[in-house]
């Protein structure tokens, strides 16, 4: 077990955003969290990563680092690619004295090679395309060899080919570092190409849990509405 979420509850003021959800993700497994906008998907990632505190429940993770790939890459725009990727190794208290500059150069080159972007160490994020920025953010996320990787809408805003490339990297990283991964998405291609299991959130609750094939079978009124992108069904868009 790498991540276990038990009876998690999160409220913002009086509003319940995450309402008593539980799930597990094993090492080397990719869980996709799907649902319409505002269903609480990204909040789950922020709770697991510790960016925001939860009100009730428990999150148990294995020893080791948690990495996160943000929706809009969140690269440090005042730093070049080398400084972005080596950031944690240079600035983290427990890591900063472990590596020489030459070792950092080697590690950054390896990570860039893993995401197919060799030789761009001196470029700044503004000089890269959206897809390249996303791949650099992958390289930055895995630099500390995390055992948990969280992806927040990794293919949002990308063209179909870039999306396929990113989806391939998600699967490749799963094999490379055997991490437990959670992918928040509402893109069908990302779900079918990357996920081992899927959970669907609506109104802060889990309304479906199963494999991507089961999601596509539309046995459940929620999955049926999601897959067909219908306005008719149990899920109503909130104003």
């Amino acid at each position: 077990m790498s991540i276990e979420v038990k009876n998690l509850v999160k409220r913002f003021e009086d509003k319940v955003i995450i309402n008593d959800i539980s799930f597990k993700v094993n090492d080397g497994e990719i869980l996709a969290i799907v649902g319409f906008s505002g269903s609480g998907k990204s909040t789950v990632l922020k709770l697991i990563s510790g960016l925001i505190p939860y009100d009730e429940g428990e999150i148990i993770t294995s020893e080791g680092d948690i990495a996160m790939v943000f929706q809009y890459s969140a690269l440090f725009d005042s730093l070049n690619v080398f400084d972005n990727i080596s950031f944690a190794l240079r600035e983290r208290k427990d890591l900063r004295k472990l590596y020489t500059h030459e070792q950092l150069q080697k590690i950054v080159a390896q990570k860039l090679e893993l995401v197919g972007l060799q030789g761009i160490e001196n470029k700044f994020p503004s000089e890269l395309s959206g897809g390249m920025q996303k791949r650099v953010s992958f390289a930055r996320a895995i630099v500390t060899q995390p055992n948990t990787i969280l992806y927040d809408e990794p293919t949002a805003g990308l063209d179909p080919m870039s999306s396929t490339l990113i989806e391939d990297y998600i699967v490749q990283l799963k094999h490379e570092i055997n991490a437990a991964s959670i992918v928040v998405t509402h893109q069908m291609s990302t779900i079918t190409r990357t996920a081992d299991r899927v959970i669907m959130l609506y109104d802060g609750k889990i309304v479906f849990e199963g494999s991507p094939d089961e999601l596509l079978r539309q046995d459940n009124p929620y999955t049926k509405q999601f897959v067909t992108a219908s306005l008719e069904g149990p899920m109503q868009m909130k104003a």
């Binding site: 960016l51 948690i66 996160m68 943000f70 809009y72 969140a74 440090f76 725009d77 944690a88 600035e91």
Partner: protein, 269 residues
Amino acid sequence: MITFAQYLRKSATYKIFSTLSKELMHFTLTIGQIAQMGIRMTERIFRDGIDIKELFAQCERFGISSLPITLSIVGMTSIIVSSQVANEMVKQGGSGLIGMLMTILTVREVGVIMSGFALISMIGSSLASELATMRVTEQIDAIDVLGVDSVGYLFTPRVLSGIFMMPIVVIIASVFGVILGGVASNIFSGLSYRAYFTSVWLGLYMKDLWVCISKAAVFGGTIALISCTFGYFAKGGAKGVGLATTKAVVWSFISIVIWDMIFAMLFFF
């Protein structure tokens, strides 16, 4: 039929007190937030140390890049003051005291407060918008997720550079202001440079210099801490960045005027 409580809620008095209490609550929370960030930063300095390279980068930004605008503002203020005062002083037979007056005024008040205003508009606003942009683009979240303490990483070099660099900026700006005061007195009132610069030292004591330097350090730290705090807690998109910057500038202005009053009461009454 409406109850007394409902009636009360609709009254103008209730609405005024309700709004005032909300504003007071917000004001108190903001002060608490600024103090909390100051304490967190200090704790991180003792725990994790200081990134010297980043500190120097921020010192360059705080000191060197802000110097032209600071010198311009302090210099022009000195010219304005001396052009108005020198003529009258000469007429009243006090020409031998113009240098002293300009020096006291510049060292005790004009140099430090005008430099403070210049640094708020140039550096404070830039710090707030920089951190606010990092917040709304999730860069601060990324720092935290990567296991680096964002308060220590972002606040420490910026606030320390404010504390270290503002006294230097103020000293340079004050010397520049006193010199320009002499030039302006010479041009507008025909006062000789010798008469002006002989009296410069008359009313200046070591206490003035120490108070000036201490005040500058406090102003610099306050401007940086307030600006970083508002940027750090920014919410929303571009609008949030703008709001955080505006609040940082307004709070910094008010804070340094309050600090100035405290220093005046502590050391000159």
